[in-house]
């Protein structure tokens, strides 16, 4: 019977899909472990760098010390134009991302492909350099990074980080944490702050990338896990259908045989 064959074919195709999704899940799990490890190790550096920068910024803000004038620490009350950097997944099967911009016809200033799946300090620095320079030149009033961060195996967290100008809200003037005034010991403080600032921005960019990779893998792992489960369910219900159809065919055949015998009596 054609119907039986159809169902059989369907079962086979669904279980093949299931095999693929399960394999993809395993791959993602393995990749996630590595990405998670990397993100964990880098988190500390990112946090410390931010702490140091914020402390410097707040001290500059509080004491107006040393006549340091650096746009990175300026307070801009009404930003006119800002750079917003979105870190999304390069590959699919882990939820929407870049498609959102395409569907909503949002124009992108610049797109980099292949960076978020393989974060690389050099390439990310190259990318963010333009924003830093634009900011320093006064073309833009802020730089934001939006990315999905890794929280744990099953949840991701959306981060919207303002990296420029430096956020000083965590530190209040006259805070007890600041036991003594900032003393920048360098021939030209500006240069030191400048290179520290660049490192800070570059590192934040890089960290956003690796954190987002970890989140991407965890999202894909989850998506593939539920796809595998769905396939399993589907095979189950198709099996029931198949058995029913088979039983039906047998019953029809039996009726045919019996009625044949009956008519010969």
């Amino acid at each position: 019977m054609a119907n039986l064959k159809d169902i059989q074919r369907k079962i086979k195709s669904v279980s093949n899909t299931q095999k693929t999704t399960r394999a993809m899940k395993l791959v993602s799990t393995a990749k996630l472990r590595r990405a998670e490890e990397l993100a964990k190790r880098s988190r500390l550096f990112a946090e410390k760098t931010n702490q140091v920068i914020q402390q410097i910024a707040s001290q500059i803000e509080c004491y107006k010390s040393g006549g340091i004038e650096n746009r990175c620490f300026a307070q801009i009350d009404e930003p006119k134009m800002v750079d917003i950097i979105f870190v999304t997944a390069d590959k699919g099967l882990c939820g929407g991302g870049i498609e959102f911009f395409n569907y909503n016809e949002i124009e992108m200033l610049d797109t980099v492909i292949g960076l978020s799946s393989a974060p690389d300090m050099e390439r990310s620095s190259e990318f963010i350099e333009k924003s830093i320079n634009d900011y320093k030149d006064g073309k833009i009033d802020g730089v934001y990074i939006v990315y999905n961060g890794y929280k744990n195996m099953i949840t991701q967290e959306l981060h919207v980080n303002r990296i420029l100008p430096v956020d000083t809200t965590d530190y209040e003037c006259g805070d007890n944490n600041q036991k003594s005034m900032l003393e920048v010991e360098a021939e030209d403080q500006e240069k030191m702050l400048d290179s520290l600032m660049n490192k800070y921005v570059e590192y934040n960019m890089y960290y956003a990338l690796i954190d987002s990779v970890a989140a991407e893998h965890s999202a894909r792992m989850q998506a593939m896990d539920s796809a595998t489960n769905n396939a399993k369910e589907m095979v189950k219900s198709l099996n029931v259908q198949y058995n029913k159809a088979r039983q039906e065919a047998i019953t029809t055949e039996l009726i045919e045989i019996i009625s044949g015998v009956e008519s010969m009596k």
Partner: protein, 130 residues
Amino acid sequence: METLHLEIITPSGLIFNGQAAEVTLPGEEGEFGVLPHHASLTTQLQPGVIDVQMEDKTVQSIVVNWGVVQVDEEKVVCLVDGAVAISGESESEIAKALDEAKKLISDVSDSNVAIASVSAKIESAAHGLM
């Protein structure tokens, strides 16, 4: 004995986290030592060697290529780009660390004098261990 808390952090993780009696850092304007209760200070590091004197007087050397150090009364936080600790159980391990450290320095520094002076320092630190 009074100690200070020292943290040396690189993008790939924590290199050193613990108590130290004294730290010598390669500052932009020359080497400087930090003892407990040092006044607050933030400065840039140049490629060089961080010497950490532990509580038991042993010295550990860590080679760094670029960094910023923040010193306050209780702790010293070094944020560095790359770092290699000159340590190891056997001579071959020390020699390996030595090679890595030299590579780290020669990658960032273009002045031969600087490379030579750092190399000499690393070698003497390594000989102390062997």
